[in-house]
């Protein structure tokens, strides 16, 4: 069976982002970009399923600018078989991404889509659930553990009170949480090999998807700052201050 892994190019998680002084957005020029960390976990899980012989082909797909091809190459170097770039310079919201992915799913007919639970730029946590809705497929979100069987998949999910396991009929969508696995680093030979793997290109227009945003961003601002307080010299002083000055004990 075939597996689809959507990946997003985002500002690297180590970068301290800066808000543009005119409030028009976040400074993205000359900032290090990487694959969304949750998507790395998704690629790793997909590749492991292939290595276990449960999946025959892993197709990575990305929606984004020309440079998103680099993100796809990273997925290919980790072990995906081929890539599809849906090229656009527009800001594409989760709903539109889900619509694009639905078209790709219809073309590729995977039995399983594994993707990150959220992208660390807009922190929306929507696309997987939306894709499942549009396809009428079941969803196993925030996956902690997956177990793929013939025609079904069991997904243990990270929920507020602990863990919950659901059984889903295939085809299905899985979104990854942090503890699903630890993604591998691509080796140099695999990075070289990835350069020769096929990477197709299409566009939202060619797929017939309108990506016009539904949310109007009016302003982007720095969060209200929090000033560093005082250093106390001893535990007794700390408890005293919490009691008398802060009034929280």
């Amino acid at each position: 069976m075939k597996l689809l892994v959507p990946v997003k190019r985002v500002v690297d998680f180590n970068v301290k982002i800066r808000v543009k002084p005119d409030g028009s957005g976040v400074e993205l020029a000359n900032v290090k970009m990487s694959m969304n960390p949750f998507d790395e976990i998704a690629v790793e899980e997909a590749v492991r399923l292939k290595e276990q012989g449960k999946v025959t082909e892993v197709v990575a797909v990305s929606v984004g600018p020309a440079q998103a091809a680099e993100t796809l190459r990273t997925a290919l170097a980790m072990g995906a078989d081929r890539g599809i770039l849906v090229k656009t310079d527009a800001t594409v919201e989760p709903l539109a991404v889900a619509k694009i992915l639905k078209k790709v799913v219809e073309q590729e007919s995977p039995q399983l889509v594994i993707m990150g639970k959220q992208a660390i730029d807009d922190d929306s946590n929507q696309t997987g659930q939306m894709l499942a809705a549009l396809l009428g497929w079941p969803q196993g979100t925030f996956a902690f553990k997956v177990s793929l069987n013939a025609g079904t998949i069991d997904v243990t999910r990270e929920v507020d009170g602990g863990l919950q396991t659901v059984g889903l009929k295939l085809p299905a969508i899985v979104t990854t949480d942090l503890r699903l696995n630890e993604p591998r680093y691509a080796s140099l030979p695999n990075i070289m090999k990835a350069k020769k793997k096929p990477l197709d290109e299409t566009t939202p227009e060619a797929l017939g998807v309108d990506v016009a945003p539904r949310l109007k961003v009016l302003k982007t601002a720095e969060p209200g700052g929090r000033k560093a307080g005082v250093k106390v010299g001893s535990v007794a002083e700390l408890v005293n201050k919490l009691k008398t000055e802060a009034g929280v004990l």
Partner: protein
């Protein structure tokens, strides 16, 4: 103009997240109906009916909704969505799972994790782990919104709304509940606790969490939390994680022990009223947001803290 609030509950009890999301729902300016979808969930519906500002409670009582699975629950919400201008839910793992599914079925772009209602269609929400705040205007006819509960006060009791039964929607029958491991604890829940003590990787083991953090949590009646590093290392369960992708909390007092303060962790706790940091590295970024910092070895400081709290009558 009416708003539908999706209640967070465990069938027997309404969760505090519902009260907080109700404050956000009420701020939209329209009457609020509350949907309680569950199995034998009459008690939760009755609790919702008592909340101040609720006009009506809809109770969908059916085995299909017992475990809040996304597929049947989304189908139910979509079947009820017609007359509502906005569908609102607290940003718990339940609603984060279900609501985008509802939004897509309604062809609406969801506004996730709002921290402020500017007007009925304009909201503030954090992006980049809270390092920027976006003001967005939703242009869709219907609004689908999840609410960051730490940013809103809990609505109080004081109402007596009618509870109306609603019919279940057809279950898509593509998913089944297989089991759960839910920690049972007498402690307050992380997201509603007044005091939280969290530990980082420097605790070194699950045993040390029990030995050093737990007695202080007991003394303070506090919830226990952890950094991602501590959870990844297996020192604390995943549902303790505070941060960008874990739980976002805003207690009166947050005590961070051996947590350096990565931006992803700060995103989950920097709206706490008072922050205390205990860390041996005086350059740790956690001190930049802490009201009170104490530099030193946590294995010496925590037993002392326990003693001082006893002296202080806790």
């Amino acid at each position: 103009m009416t708003t539908l609030l999706i209640a967070e509950h465990d069938n027997a009890h309404l969760k505090d997240a519902t009260n907080k999301a109700l404050s956000a729902a009420a701020a939209l300016g329209a009457p609020v109906h509350v949907l309680v979808a569950g199995a034998n969930a009459k008690a939760a519906a009755d609790a919702a009916a008592k909340l101040s500002g609720v006009e009506k409670v809809l109770l969908a009582d059916n085995a299909a909704y017992q475990h809040q699975l996304a597929e049947p629950l989304a189908a139910l919400i979509v079947s009820l969505a017609g007359p509502y201008d906005a569908i609102v839910a607290p940003a718990t793992t339940t609603a984060k799972n279900v609501l985008p599914r509802v939004a897509a079925l309604l062809d609406v772009m969801q506004v996730s994790d709002i921290t402020k209602v500017v007007s009925a269609d304009t909201f503030e929400r954090p992006i980049y782990a809270g390092n920027a705040i976006q003001t967005v205007q939703a242009t869709d006819g219907k609004k689908v919104i999840t609410v960051r509960t730490a940013s809103f006060p809990a609505a109080a009791e004081g109402g007596s709304a009618p509870v109306e039964s609603v019919a279940p929607a057809a279950d898509p029958q593509v998913s089944t509940f297989k089991g759960e491991e839910i920690a049972v604890s007498d402690r307050p829940e992380l997201t509603s606790a007044k005091i939280i003590i969290s530990g980082g990787r420097s605790l070194g083991s699950a045993e040390n969490f029990a030995k050093y953090i737990e007695p202080i949590a007991d003394k303070l009646g506090a919830a226990m939390g952890a950094s991602r590093a501590a959870v990844d290392a297996g020192y604390a369960p995943n549902d303790w994680q505070v941060g960008q992708t874990g739980k976002v909390v805003a207690p009166d007092l947050y005590i961070a022990v051996g947590i350096s303060g990565a931006i992803q962790h700060l995103a989950g706790m920097k709206d706490s009223k008072v922050i205390v940091a205990i860390n041996k590295d005086e350059e740790a970024p956690i001190f930049q947001v802490a009201d009170y910092g104490l530099v030193g070895d946590l294995f010496t400081i925590l037993p002392e803290l326990q003693e001082e709290l006893t002296k202080a009558g806790r």
